[in-house]
């Protein structure tokens, strides 16, 4: 471990309220959930944060619950729990598919959906599924709760509207009409970080979200509109190529990502057309 741990401080709340009070009065604090990303930074010595709030034990933030048309998933729900949930597999198969492709079993047993959102990596694999499902992110402060539409949650690269005194406590997913689709493209099936990741919903107005092609996860609104208006797949692909803003980095190139995104769109369109028959 390259980070010296002796100067690091950790606070241990007993309840969610306790945690929110600590965030307000004793911040700045970095909440720590499954630590599957946070500890990579600590191990490599690249994490600057020095004060942590261990929320892993706050069981009130765990669990998956269907409330009428809304599927509520607690922030500390792990990928393994999402994969095993019959409710998620029935209502939100694209989220189960995304969770299955995160890391491998060891990461899925520990990593949480709230952590994936809070971490805010443009390559976060659950994020396109949550974006395509028009999810609400629930933020709680000491005496308020607000629900943010997923499309408004991120403000830039790893930046969000979450205030330092708020915790992500849950996501609420409305019922999704139409066939769902998910695909991640990486160097291998497990343990890879996405070069491009895409989730789609084939409805009258299709919904398409992509990761690793912009500073944040993005909805491809212009592509969606073109497909909804009946334009050809080729035209929609051309719109998508221009709508995203990928970069060259250690994992891939902008040109490759544009081309793969366009091909994923074609695959989504073909696969969901078959499924609808």
């Amino acid at each position: 471990m390259r980070t010296a741990i002796s100067p690091l401080v950790m606070l241990q709340p007993r309840t969610v309220r306790d945690a929110l009070r600590m965030l307000r009065d004793e911040g700045p604090l970095t909440p720590m959930a499954g630590c599957t990303d946070l500890y990579v930074g600590l191990n490599l010595g690249t994490l600057a944060d020095g004060r942590f709030l261990n929320i892993w034990g706050l069981d009130a933030l765990r669990g998956i619950e269907a409330r009428g048309d809304v599927l509520r998933i607690g922030a500390l729900t792990t990928y393994s729990e999402i994969i095993r949930s019959a409710e998620v597999r029935r209502r939100l198969p694209m989220l189960a598919a995304a969770s299955l492709e995160i890391g491998a079993v060891q990461i899925q047993n520990r990593g949480t959906i709230g952590g994936n959102i809070a971490n805010g990596s443009p390559a976060g694999d659950t994020l396109p599924a949550l974006a395509a499902a028009d999810t609400l992110v629930e933020l709680r402060g000491l005496d308020w709760t607000r629900k943010i539409p997923f499309a408004d949650f991120y403000t830039g690269y790893r930046a969000s509207v979450r205030r330092p005194d708020e915790l992500i406590t849950a996501v609420e997913v409305p019922r999704v009409a139409g066939a769902q689709w998910f695909r991640k493209v990486g160097t291998r099936a497990a343990q890879s970080i996405s070069k491009v990741v895409m989730a789609g919903v084939r409805a009258e107005r299709p919904r398409i979200a992509l990761g690793s092609v912009a500073p944040t996860v993005v909805r491809a609104r212009r592509t969606e509109a073109a497909l909804a208006d009946g334009s050809s797949l080729e035209a929609a692909q051309e719109i998508l190529r221009h709508e995203i803003s990928p970069i060259d980095d250690i994992r891939s190139t902008a040109a490759y990502r544009r081309e793969v995104a366009a091909r994923l769109l074609a695959q989504f369109w073909r696969d969901t057309a078959v499924r609808r028959r």
Binding site: M1, I5, M32, R110, A190
Partner: protein
């Protein structure tokens, strides 16, 4: 220095342990340095290679990514907890599932988390987070599938055979007391 920390209490290989360690110390380091259990290896230190795999409450985890404080109250099982005569351990030796050995403890812990009689697909998925850089995976898969066939007898057959044929799990010796 360490006396400032509240003890982290958990069950390690069936024994209750109480350790005054920094709450953010990695479980991997706690096991190796504070418990003297060096069977758990560090490969990458970033959750990619699986060499540090242990079980926490029956689930395989990367111990390089788990802070000590998060195993408070949990049951931790390491390769030492399998006692050296576990069917998986014998099978890895017999079927060429090991070469340099660095990845082996993690592979065996990930395999142990799969439960009895995993299919080849389950083995491949369950061990996708365990990377071997010398011998490859076929011997590993063969070992796990054969350990299942031989070691984990179906419940019915075990009962018919009576108590003289022990459940392989019950043969696991308790770990020796460790220096602190």
């Amino acid at each position: 220095m360490t006396l400032r920390h509240r003890p982290v209490v958990f069950t390690l290989n069936g024994r209750r342990v109480s350790l005054r360690v920094h709450p953010l110390k990695r479980l991997l380091d706690v096991l190796r340095e504070d418990c003297g259990l060096a069977g758990t290896k560090e490969g990458c230190g970033e959750g990619e290679c699986g060499a540090c795999t242990v079980m926490v409450d029956g689930c395989a985890v990367n111990s390089c990514l788990v802070p000590a404080v998060q195993v408070a109250g949990a049951k931790v099982l390491t390769i030492e907890g399998l006692g050296g005569r576990h069917p998986l351990q014998r099978a890895f030796a017999e079927h060429g599932g090991t070469q340099c050995g660095i990845c082996t403890p993690g592979m065996i812990m990930a395999a142990a988390a799969l439960g009895p009689r995993p299919t080849l697909h389950e083995v491949r998925v369950g061990l996708a987070g365990n990377i071997c850089r010398c011998t490859g995976y076929e011997g590993v898969y063969r070992a796990i599938r054969n350990a299942g066939a031989r070691g984990q007898e179906p419940e019915a057959r075990r009962q018919r055979a009576g108590p003289r044929i022990p459940n392989p799990e019950s043969r696991i010796p308790r770990p020796r007391r460790r220096r602190r």
